[in-house]
């Protein structure tokens, strides 16, 4: 019941975000052909960026002139960042809003266990994120059609898509955990978004110098770094493990916490 209701409630938002993301992806990819044609000017453009910037954004590893390079550098950032923000927004208040709007007193008087409430809401979050990622993948495939003479290596694309999905699920799970602990939705929202934004920047600065490289373990964005995935044609297993632990651990903790806490009305 709760699952269906949450799906219904979040449908409008999902549609809007999907349309925006699809639009951005397709539009960006449509620019690629003209972008790639001016190869010379592109190299000049690359040279114009200082070395440190090129390091940070992995521009040295990827070739902006190739479809996959362009995708990795330009489009992928959109997918990961926007998708993560969506995930945080969605998951951060799905539990807390019941307490914030005080509807929880009604819900908890119904014959439904707290575990079921948590599981059905978590499921709704996951389904929404999977749908968004599917839209993103399909839009990318559509967008690739613009580059008529170039093709994207299938395995790499699949890896990138899986990585993005895992990234979104990771942020969603962490936000969901906050949602189970706190009760003021504006707090859960702020802190979940802060996590996304801060880790994004951690990822960016970690590329700056060797000393900052250790930061890469703290940012999920680094785990799914497109430059690495594309050049190595794999996602580093340790990162998959970390994300898996974060997802499973956060959700498990959310269950446990919500089951035991006093619900404030």
């Amino acid at each position: 019941m709760i699952f269906q209701r949450e799906l219904k409630r979040s449908r409008k938002s999902l549609i809007i975000w999907s349309l925006v993301l699809a639009g951005l992806i397709i539009w960006l990819l449509s620019i690629f052909p003209s972008f790639a044609k001016s190869q010379a000017s592109m190299e000049a453009l690359m040279e114009s960026y200082p070395e440190s910037i090129r390091q940070m954004f992995g521009m040295n590893q990827l070739n902006l002139g190739s479809l996959i390079g362009f995708y990795g550098l330009e489009v992928y950032m959109m997918v990961t960042l926007l998708g993560s923000i969506y995930a945080a927004l969605l998951a951060s208040n799905i539990l807390a809003k019941e307490e914030g709007e005080k509807t929880v007193e009604f819900l908890l008087s119904k014959p439904i266990s707290r575990s079921r409430i948590v599981s059905q809401k978590a499921l709704a979050v996951f389904v929404n994120i999977i749908i968004l990622n599917a839209v993103s993948a399909v839009s990318s495939l559509i967008g690739f059609q613009f580059a008529k003479d170039e093709d994207i290596p299938g395995k790499t694309f699949v890896l990138l898509s899986i990585a993005a999905l895992l990234l979104h699920l990771t942020f969603a799970s962490i936000s969901f955990l906050f949602s189970s602990i706190m009760r003021k939705t504006r707090n859960t929202l702020s802190i979940s978004l802060a996590v996304v934004i801060v880790t994004y920047f951690l990822n960016v600065i970690s590329g700056l110098s060797e000393d900052l490289e250790i930061l890469k373990y703290f940012s999920p964005f680094k785990y799914v770094d497109s430059a690495n995935i594309i050049s190595d044609n794999r996602i580093e297993p340790i990162f998959i493990v970390i994300m898996g632990i974060l997802i499973a651990g956060s959700i498990a903790a959310a269950f446990f916490i919500y089951k035991k806490k006093d619900i404030a009305v």
């Binding site: 409630r9 509807t103 009604f106 908890l108 014959p111 266990s113 619900i263 009305v265």
Partner: protein, 290 residues
């Protein structure tokens, strides 16, 4: 068998006072009142029984099942009306009622329509557009719709106009006829007196007494304020205790028959007469003077 059996239930909060060592039991088919001033612990007790909050110590059973371990099972047969009613703002009344009924898997459309019409509730309005009183009505229908065996009501009449209140009490009595047990929490003594069989009095987190209504009504006390035309008159009425004399105004506590009061006042130059419900404090005070 006791439908509700509470044993030394205690809930302590860090800042506010909760409930301490509360014990009582409710028999099947009873309408059991729970009365106390604001902040006494009525809502805390109810929320603990429903496992919205966890007890610090003590235990309780409903239908013989533990309120913590078997909470989900218990709630299958419980209807709850909280003191403050908050529902999802995107729903119409009928949406909420159907949603609520789905949890119990026994939605009866006829019953919903009947309850709604008896309480004068429009099923097709958006809940957020409703007044406080009408939202309360939604809560009442929601609580009764699935024919629960135990009905828990927390300050149910606040916001209801007197006519609807009367229909509401009729509904409750009918539910009792059908075998339901009712737990009615209030700070309004007259309501509790009207409908309950027994009453538990709670004050500052502790259960003071469990009493039958008969016994309470025997000690019915009223606050009488008599405003005379001139000061300084002696007013002697048997059964009345003078509280205060201020100029023309005499206030007293009276626990006898109204007829005798009026006979006693007859002949005095009375400008105004106020007959009021005593505050719970005064009831308790009078009650325990013996």
């Amino acid at each position: 068998m006791a439908v509700v059996d509470v044993r030394n239930l205690t809930k302590t909060y860090k800042k506010n006072r909760g409930i301490v060592d509360v014990s009582f039991s409710i028999e099947e088919g009873e309408i059991f009142g729970f009365i106390g001033p604001n902040g006494a612990g009525k809502s805390t007790t109810i929320r603990t029984l429903l496992n919205i909050i966890f007890p610090t110590s003590g235990s309780a059973t409903i239908f013989g099942k533990d309120i913590v371990k078997d909470s989900t099972e218990i709630r299958q047969n419980v209807g709850y009306l909280p003191s403050e009613v908050h529902y999802y703002d995107d729903m119409k009344v009928i949406d909420l009622l159907k949603y609520s009924a789905r949890f119990h898997k026994n939605f009866k459309e006829n019953r919903m329509n009947e309850l709604a019409s008896r309480l004068d509730l429009d099923l097709h309005r958006k809940i957020e557009d409703l007044s406080f009183g009408n939202r309360k009505k939604v809560g009442i229908v929601q609580a009764l719709l699935h024919e629960p065996k135990l009905i828990i009501l927390d300050e149910p009449t606040s916001g209801l106009d007197p006519l609807i209140q009367s229909h509401f009490f009729d509904l409750l009595l009918e539910e009792r006829e059908n075998g339901a047990t009712i737990f009615f929490s209030s700070h309004i003594l007259s309501e509790v007196q009207k409908i309950c069989d027994r009453v538990a009095i709670i004050k500052e987190g502790k259960l003071i007494q469990v009493e039958s209504i008969e016994y309470l009504t025997k000690n019915r006390v009223k606050n009488i304020t008599v405003i005379l035309d001139q000061p300084g008159l002696e007013l002697i009425i048997p059964g009345a205790v003078i509280k205060e004399k201020k100029g023309n105004e005499i206030s007293l506590l009276y626990s006898g028959e109204m007829k005798e009061l009026l006979q006693g006042l007859n002949g005095f130059p009375i400008q105004d007469l106020l007959i009021e419900e005593p505050s719970l404090e005064e009831v308790f005070m009078h009650y325990y003077e013996k």
